[in-house]
Subunit: 146 residues, 2 copies
Amino acid sequence: MRRTKPSLETAEALSSGYYNIGQAADATGVTAKMIRHYESLGLLNRVERTLSNYRIYSDRDLHVLRFIKRGRNLGFSMKEIEALLGLWQNSRRQSAEVRRLAKQHAEDLEARIVEMQSMRDTLMHLVDACRGDHRPDCPILEDLGR
Amino acid sequence: MRRTKPSLETAEALSSGYYNIGQAADATGVTAKMIRHYESLGLLNRVERTLSNYRIYSDRDLHVLRFIKRGRNLGFSMKEIEALLGLWQNSRRQSAEVRRLAKQHAEDLEARIVEMQSMRDTLMHLVDACRGDHRPDCPILEDLGR
DNA sequence: TCTTGACCTTCCCATAATGGAAAGGTTTAG
DNA sequence: CTAAACCTTTCCATTATGGGAAGGTCAAGA
């Protein structure tokens, strides 16, 4: 079970709408480990601490964490997410820039998909050509060793 | 240009059908760096050395390097390649085992392809929905921050 | 013969994103 | 007061690849 109500300065924070790292992790689906990591990458602006040095997060921080998580789910790299986050937080952004980043990433994905499909197809053909019995003869190994 | 004919014990080796690491790299398309790495992984059984400590490779070694390269091109991990290499060099292998490995890998590829297609499709929809002009309004960021 | 450039050697470091684990401080419930 | 469940930092590992330094070797030309 996660602790519900601490007592000292920490308690003050947690009862004022703040979250400790475990609560933030539960709320966003981002592990505590990765929350600290994202902070070290500079994606979370200045994380507050309690007197006992515990990190505390605001609703706004959780929002950022969810943004990062969603970006990762879409396959963006941390570098790309950093850029998107900057645009997200910049009210004078131009949507053209965001669109360009997203389109580029979609195209990168497409290129990788095509490459992997080619691998898969080649493999499937080899698998189909292989008897797969007790004998050593094997078109798959023959291809690899060609 | 690569040196053609050394003089001492190294020369003996190179004129006896052996290759130094640079020549092996040129012949197989595997970088010298990676050839050393594969050796450290134990994929090349005992690599010979000249008196001056230069590695020398036989045609059989080049064959192994090409096998590895082909396996990498098909997306196999080094662990998988190690297993396939073992089967390749085992005359009493059963092709069923090889086929099982290849099929599993093809299925792994397929799973990743499906996942990436889903990412790509979601992104494409968002890109299509984004005007991409000078204004800040952007469905892509809205989705990421939802 | 000496020099030079193109090789070769080993060793250390870096990448991207994530997790495991150790050693130790803090809080809270019992 | 103690034990459980948190939190902290720091170090290490993963996968496959490459960069670079410091230094030894070899071939060819002056």
